[in-house]
Symmetry: C2
Subunit: 461 residues, 2 copies
């Protein structure tokens, strides 16, 4: 233990003074607090129970929208999406006229904590279940001697690009299928193995929510999954680590009483009411559609082209018309160009107001904001939003059109996230909190404070 | 047990088919789920743990605002505030020009479940901690042979008015002080006593949140309180009851890091920006100010008198001017008179929009709605609102002016409720749910479904 660096470092305006013990931050993807409650009630999470009693267990507020990339990016940078720039898995880029996945470090506008930790002498390691997150997390880390790999592509990790190779041998398990509980457990087992063999003393372990999308908290499969997580947690604690646990988002059933998905098709409804040309972006969209069928409780709406009017035919979101209109290269960064704003606030302003008011009247819609209000109230990057942002209720998801979604994808009924009812997540520490952090925990702590809490906030030395 | 009536009855459009067992619904005032989590983690709620494993434990969405009267009235009627009419502890009644407490049955626009249960042959009993709720709950019940009393005034219950006398002797405890854990425990002990001696087989037991306002979930006092609740719960279960547990609202610390209350003084801020004449109603206000100093996360704003302009001097909310202005007897029921509406939508509409937009920009304010939108989105009675409704964040409360509030009242720092972050509450049943109720529990169940779930939803016979 004496070889563990306690050197101060600072990232994005936050100071970190790590203890002389391994630091392990775990993001349990999709872990609504009820999953922990149920497994605990069954007596299947003794190590978590030990943390709750001897350390701290409470709730933290996540970043909105309550999606994976948004919140993982917040956790690894310690700042909200308005600063780090990742406001969804997906956005419509007016500069390119394309809908783009934000699974690349090029979209990240803030440094992650890991290169700084590595420069301060920590053996920084990031293990994620989904490969989509690895590049964001690895940004700048490998160059500093750190390690970053995914369980999804564990077998393909190479020294030059991942800071490690022969991962399967190190972990003692084969690369798991991504649609499995094992994809997450592999992440935790990898953390244990790297702690054990001295390759890591500053870890971020980020699981995937395959189990939670598929199973409710009371399902035996969910309880077994959390029991397995707890076993790995026990090993991490035995190895002397200070452990902080949070989640990126919660999870709720989004179904009608008959079990069918409870969807509001925004693009269809808006077109039916106001004419064509609306483009609805669902920032939950990612390559892992089996989880959720691209249906979540958060959507971004781009209005029809200013001046084109709401009745313009053929102004379909998939046609190049929009791309060329928006493709001037100036884009809408930081709230859009003056001309764009005039369009929206001028003749387009009527449509914006009408669409906002009309959307807010839809049952199941909980909040509707214009771009600037959404950016301010939800801490989002304005230039990666549309003119409107829409949130839906606990059991309601937002879609584009019925044709767009493969509703057969969610096999056991739709469970998803993205809205306010998946915003609150666990905040758990293995050690008692210092008084000032206890006060913060009692206020409005954020899930992206987890590194601060784990590194600085406990009485661990 | 064979003497317990299973006769069907129906209230406010809901059908109830009670089992041949005692039915006990418990509302644990201010019980954020974290209180249960902490006491469970300490192993101090074995009976609740048994319910969670053998029955059901999840979360339900309460009625907004997340206040006591609003949610208790919803629970006992099975309908939202838009139907039963109790949208706060307090409202400004334009017909009388007064700010009125809604602690009387005359404000209730829907029948409670209890008289119907009594008519169907059940021994219906309501025990509440606070006297303020008793009259609402007792509405129509005593005439049907039922019982209703409060622990606060237990010693004063009389047969004619309460359906019971000598309560202290029946319960075996003296009337507790209202500012005590005992005020709540007395409620549960009374339920046990009345079950034991055959005086009750259909009970609603509603506690008070003195402990939760005072202590965070991790405080030993809170853990002891829930352990004591659990002991009474065990007795209720031993007596063969089907038990349903929920809460009226959660509870959060509403403090700055230095421990001082985190307040936005709406009346001061609005007057400073737009001129005098704004009247801010805080519907958390009740006679029990030690709990919260009348500070919660929900407020109603009445704009200055239409036509009077926002610069009118001396138009203070406490002066008779307003009373006479609004005292025509026509009031604003169902959205206000045509003249009122014209005022608000006409020259006053500019002020309404400006105030709404400006309020929404305040850090800590989470939602701002005009009257009709609030009524629709929050299921509130429009005629008991003002022109604007304001909600605040997890650690933020709304006040009138600094002078109005006694900030020394909350002794150990301010913990309060009223907003969205106190909206989700426990939903716990002692028996496994029928499949259709399991599906509903997984969707968006409400805390005011608790009688439906407890009476109809379990496999108890």
């Amino acid at each position: 233990m004496s070889s563990i660096s306690t050197q101060f470092f600072s990232v994005n305006g936050r100071a970190y003074r790590p203890p002389a013990r391994p630091v392990v931050v775990i993001c349990l993807d999709g872990s609504a607090d009820e999953y922990l409650d149920t497994a605990l009630a069954h007596g299947r999470m003794p190590n978590l129970q030990h943390m709750a009693v001897g350390g701290y267990r409470g709730l933290a507020r996540g970043a909105m929208p309550s999606f994976t990339n948004v919140n993982n990016a917040s956790i690894v940078t310690g700042v909200p999406p308005s600063v780090h720039g990742i406001g969804g898995n997906f956005f419509y880029n007016p500069a390119t006229g394309r809908e783009e996945m934000m699974n690349s470090a090029k979209y990240l506008r803030a440094e992650t904590i890991f290169p700084a930790a590595a420069r301060a002498g920590r053996k920084a390691v990031v293990v994620t279940a989904k490969e989509k997150l690895r590049e964001i997390f690895a940004s700048g880390l490998i160059e500093q001697g750190g390690v970053a790999f995914s369980s999804e592509k564990a077998g393909q990790a190479e020294l030059k690009t991942h800071g490690i190779d022969r991962v399967e041998k190190v972990v003692g398990s084969p690369t798991p299928p991504i649609y499995s509980a094992d994809a997450s457990l592999f992440v935790l087992r990898a953390g244990v193995a790297l702690l054990q063999n001295g390759m890591a003393d500053f870890l971020y372990l980020s699981t995937t929510d395959y189990v939670q999308h598929k199973y409710a908290p009371g399902a035996p499969e969910a309880v077994e999954f959390y029991a397995a997580i707890d076993r790995e947690l026990g090993r991490v604690l035995e190895l002397g680590a200070v452990v902080g646990i949070t989640a990126d988002h919660g999870m709720n059933a989004k179904q009608k009483p008959d079990g069918s998905p409870n969807v509001i098709y925004l693009e269809s409804e808006l077109s039916g009411k106001f004419g064509s040309g609306f483009r609805v972006i669902l920032p939950i969209t990612d390559p892992y559609v089996v989880h959720h069928g691209a249906l979540g409780s958060f959507a971004v709406v781009h209005l029809p082209a200013p001046g084109a009017g709401s009745e313009t035919e053929g102004n379909s979101p998939n046609e190049p018309l929009l791309a060329s209109r928006e493709g001037s290269g100036r884009g809408r960064r930081a709230g859009g160009t003056a001309r764009d704003r005039e369009g929206v606030r001028g003749e387009g302003g009527l449509l914006l107001d009408a669409a906002r008011d009309w959307l807010l009247e839809r049952p199941g819609v909980t909040e509707v904001y214009d771009r600037d209000t959404a950016a301010r109230k939800l801490e989002l990057p304005a230039d990666r939003l549309g003119e409107l942002v829409v949130l839906s209720g606990r059991d309601v998801v937002l879609g584009r059109t019925p044709e767009y979604h493969d509703l057969s994808a969610p096999e056991n009924g739709l469970r998803s996230h993205g809205g306010r009812y998946e915003e609150m997540v666990p905040l758990i520490l293995s050690e008692p909190l210092k008084p000032e952090y206890a006060a913060r925990a009692a206020g409005d702590p954020r899930n992206f404070d987890i590194f601060d809490f784990t590194v600085n906030g406990t009485r661990a030395k």
